[in-house]
Amino acid sequence: MKLALPELRREWVLLAIIAVIVGAVGARAPVFLTWRNVQDIANDSAILAILVMGQLMVLLTRGVDLSVAANLALTGMLCALAGRAFPNLGLVPLLMLACAAGALLGAFNGLLIVHFRLPPIVVTLGTMSAYRGAIFVASGGAWISDHEIHPLIKGLPRETLWGLPALVVAAALVVAFALWLLRWRREGRDLYACGGNPAAALVAGIPVSRRLMLAYTLSGLLAGLAGLLWVGRYSIAFTELAAGYELTVIAACVIGGVSIAGGVGSVGGAVLGVLFIGVINAALPVIQVSPFWQQAIAGVVILVSVVLNARSQRSPGRQILPRAQGVAA
């Protein structure tokens, strides 16, 4: 139980920091604490949360998926094109198309990584440009603007379910699924093992290749779902959609305490990371800081949180293996 303590504490610290920021900004500008603004932040964070759950699974296996934003944009464009070509398409086929296309693109990453034993960062770097270019080829470089987007796609993020915006409900469902998978399912626990020590995982009889495939396919599937929601929310599809967003996704994971070296990270932490970014982005305009500061602040936050991560992960290591370290030195 002692092992779980630092990780737990870290998440509480992050939560406290978020609460302090919300309180401080709210004290200066009460509009920040209104229900309306809370809804805005939740809506803005929902798509990021969906992407972060996929990225979390990949990061846990000691991999990384840089192609999520390109996958999101390509799937979004495919859905928009399908919606334009077949105006009678229902919501279920559209959702299935988004998930299937996203999962296929993710599985392609997984195939290259597992089958050819290529480093994930390089593979997804390559597919990132490849998918981005494919959008241009599919759309001919044209924008699909508001009036051409299928009304069901546009309507989806504006629906309310059980009194909550559909975007938030979708994100909550995805988070619940990730929690279930990573906590109570063997497949999910295996992801931790694959990233913690790949060689040991293989020796312990874990089908590492299949688990990696699962992680990349799920990351792709969630990116596809996010693509449909993104196109609906902003009512536009174009080639440069969400360009560079993969770094925000990874940043949210890192802030939430997910280790880039694999094997460490929790759904709760990742959600807090998303919330942190959402709160910061919403707070800056309220306290009248130029939006130009957003990126620089995000950079500082990432650096500070990785330094804190490294600190909190190093101390338990010393306590567990004092003798082994002595032998090695």
Binding site: F116, M128, R132, G299
Partner: protein, 329 residues
């Protein structure tokens, strides 16, 4: 020392194929002026790639290298606005580049953080600072000398008009030679391989691993500053989005050049050849009016294929040998 390994030969063949294929297909592609032109769009990126090759060989990576360029160019612009002469402007650029690189290296060595996370953070930070300092403005009005460095040819400089090799390309060749000699023929260079292959073993064999890492990061900052000076001279202005996304191009060149992303393997000859290959290829596609995004898609696919091919080749060879074994026995 073997200068040209198997992969470098493949690259030479590919370059020959590009020049022959496009030379026959496109009128004027093989004229000396077109050849000189084709080096412009790749010279600065190749400078980044040289530094990136050293980093990757040593097991590190710098994703903030293009953002460093933006800051270095900005520093040069601000120095000019403050009334500094050309030497002081250059000093400002190189000092900024070195400072950015040093911060990366300090975080990686002192806080023991993975370079990819650190440089994702500093990418955000440096680019964000450029945005904060410059907003949506641009700095223009650079001295004539800078424009000459960026656009001129060696012939103009030494008074032999027939020599139309661009200055940028000449700078690249000289630096490639210097970096290549350093990496392949000096003790510190060979030690970078040892560090990349096994940092712990390198440390135990008496190499000051952290000092080398820090040094390589600072070198990357300096190279970014040099690339920034040349690029700023060539386009004549500084904007916060200068060289946006170039870090990925530099990584692509390095990987295509046969440097292993896990560190410890690779050559400068391969990196330079990959840069020339990409430069000529994209220039030819440009002459064929292929859109920029399709080009980047092709480059992404090229990156993946270049990694899959050796693996496929190995498999085919293994299968062939299995097939022949019984016959020999």
């Amino acid at each position: 020392m073997k200068v040209l390994g198997g992969w470098e030969r493949v690259l030479i063949l590919l370059i020959a194929a590009v020049y022959l294929g496009f030379g026959l297909g496109i009128e004027g592609f093989l004229s000396p002026y077109a050849l000189a032109d084709s080096t412009y769009n790749v010279s600065e990126k190749a400078l980044l790639a040289l530094a990136m090759a050293l980093l990757v060989v040593a097991g590190e990576i710098d994703l903030s290298i293009a953002a460093t360029m933006a800051l270095a160019s900005l520093a040069m612009g601000f120095a000019m606005r403050a009334g500094a002469g050309l030497p002081l402007m250059l000093l400002a650029a190189f000092a900024t580049g070195a400072a950015c690189g040093w911060l990366n290296g300090w975080l990686v060595t002192r806080c023991q953080l993975p370079a990819i996370v650190v440089t994702i953070g500093t990418l955000s930070l440096y680019r964000g600072l450029a945005l904060v300092l410059l907003g949506d403005q641009a700095i223009t009005g650079y001295p004539e000398t800078l424009a000459t460095w960026g656009n001129g040819s060696v012939g103009d400089l030494i008074g032999v008009p027939a020599l139309i090799v661009p200055i940028e390309f000449a700078v690249l060749l000289v630096l490639a030679l210097a970096v290549g000699l350093f990496l392949h023929a000096t003790v510190p260079g060979r030690r970078l391989y040892a560090i990349g292959a096994n940092p712990v073993a390198a440390r135990f064999s008496g190499i000051a691993v952290d000092r080398y890492r820090l040094g390589v990061f600072v070198f990357a900052g300096l190279m970014a500053a040099l690339a920034a000076v040349l690029l700023t001279g060539r386009i004549g202005s500084t904007r916060p989005n200068l060289a946006l996304g170039w870090e990925l191009d530099a990584v692509t060149i390095v990987i295509l050049g046969g440097v292993a992303i896990e560190g410890g393997r690779g050559s400068i000859a391969g990196t330079l050849l990959a840069a020339v290959l990409l430069g000529s290829f994209t220039f030819a596609l440009g002459m064929l009016n292929v859109a920029g995004l399709v080009m980047s898609m092709i480059v992404g696919l090229l990156l993946i294929v270049s990694m899959v091919l050796p693996s496929l080749g190995g498999r085919v060879r293994a299968a062939w040998q299995r097939h022949r074994m019984p016959a020999q026995a």
